[in-house]
Point group: C2
Chain length 214, copies 2
DNA sequence: TCGCGGCGAACGATCGTTCGGTTGCCGGGA
DNA sequence: TCCCGGCAACCGAACGATCGTTCGCCGCGA
């Protein structure tokens, strides 16, 4: 599928120069800036629908030049998914995610998960759209399921501790919780007013309900 | 991308016979059964990653035979997206979605939306993953946005009528609401126990909160 | 005999990737 | 100071594979 043409030649987001300080050499990319460009294109068109030609054009160089900096398409995907997963799993290592009542830990994780979702938006977006077509994607899916399972067991703990009122089926609650939080990537865009209050609002809304009873 | 081999030759889900009653002719597909096969494959691998070879193999015939029944890949997508969108928009035409207090109409729509999501699962799943690469996909995205906008304005009405307690930012609530409901496609599979009570549980959970305050 | 369902082969286009070659800045020996 | 060898960045062209689609033909039941 050939999507609508991505952009004009586009002012590439170049970052550094080849060497030294006042390098007269032409601007140069590093691996992470090319990854950022690639992930943006992946998210715009979908990984499979994005060609290496698309990526190199968005970077402002030719396809063969692009290959001088990166080892391949799937390697770009792997690096991006890794970044997203590392950000998410780091949350579980925080003291507030490991100590205290289950419900408090859960609320902390939700709060931080929204923060990571927004700060690492392109990478997490890519992660949440993976389908499992390659070994790389299946590995990412497995890691993601492990993260969700941790949250699900925390929800179950909270119910078992009597911290959540009866009638909430734990596994259903956990699934809807993850779905609600993850759906933020569908509409959140950085730099809009009110962004900094989003994590707190999400925690409050999943606690009190979206459309509370009259 | 070449996904893992889909299946062995696969017992194709053939539906009818060519003609007459005791037709000795080999089984034959109609357009809708081939659409069902195609949509399942699209969802398993993603639309772009699914080749016509994959589709015909899943149907148990060759690629060229497959083309004898369908006019092309994008036409299959269009038919599938249309089916999903028709199902969703039909909800808005129901009397209970048009009469009564905003909050009641909203709850009815959520209930029915979960029902349609589950009964038309493969088609709605495909719809919710469209990225907008072709004119067909952009048309589907526009229709989907119109549906979401209807719900968003209903949420705003409920807030304006004082039916929802203060502190809920209407547009944020509407987005999280849609995200929560739509996330069901990520895990719901038909035929599991408790399926019939899901719509009611979802309505209750978005009203009372997923992890209510202690 | 007609025609529908199915088939193999091939079309041009595009895919991810590789290769050989050119450019121009830079460090270091004369 | 000058020059030169090295090398990082970049490019055009092409590779084999696979893509969606088309074509001509065949077998068989009505």
């Amino acid at each position: 599928m050939t999507a609508a043409p991505s952009e004009p030649p586009a002012p590439p987001a170049r970052t550094r120069r080849a060497r030294g300080a006042a390098g007269a050499r032409r601007p140069v990319y590093d691996a992470s800036s090319l990854l950022a460009v690639a992930v943006q294109e992946f998210n715009a068109r979908g990984y499979d629908a994005t060609s290496m030609e698309d990526l190199s054009r968005a970077a402002g160089i030719t396809k063969s030049s692009f290959y001088h900096h990166v080892s391949g398409k799937e390697e770009l995907l792997r690096a991006a998914l890794n970044r997203a997963l590392d950000g998410l799993f780091a949350i579980l290592e925080e003291p507030a995610a490991q100590e205290g009542a289950a419900l408090d830990r859960l609320r902390h994780i939700i709060f931080r998960q929204v923060e990571v979702l927004t700060s690492e938006l392109p990478y997490v977006t890519l992660l949440l759209r993976v389908r499992g077509n390659t070994e790389t994607e299946r590995w990412a899916l497995a890691r993601r399921r492990a993260f969700d399972a941790t949250i699900a067991s925390l929800v179950a703990d909270a119910v078992a501790d009597g911290e959540v009122r009866a009638g909430v089926e734990p596994s259903l609650a956990a699934r809807l919780l993850s779905g609600t939080v993850n759906s933020i990537i569908e509409w959140y865009r950085p730099g809009r007013p009110g962004s900094e209050s989003l994590p707190g609002e999400v925690v409050r809304i999943v606690s009190e309900g979206i459309i509370p009873p009259a």
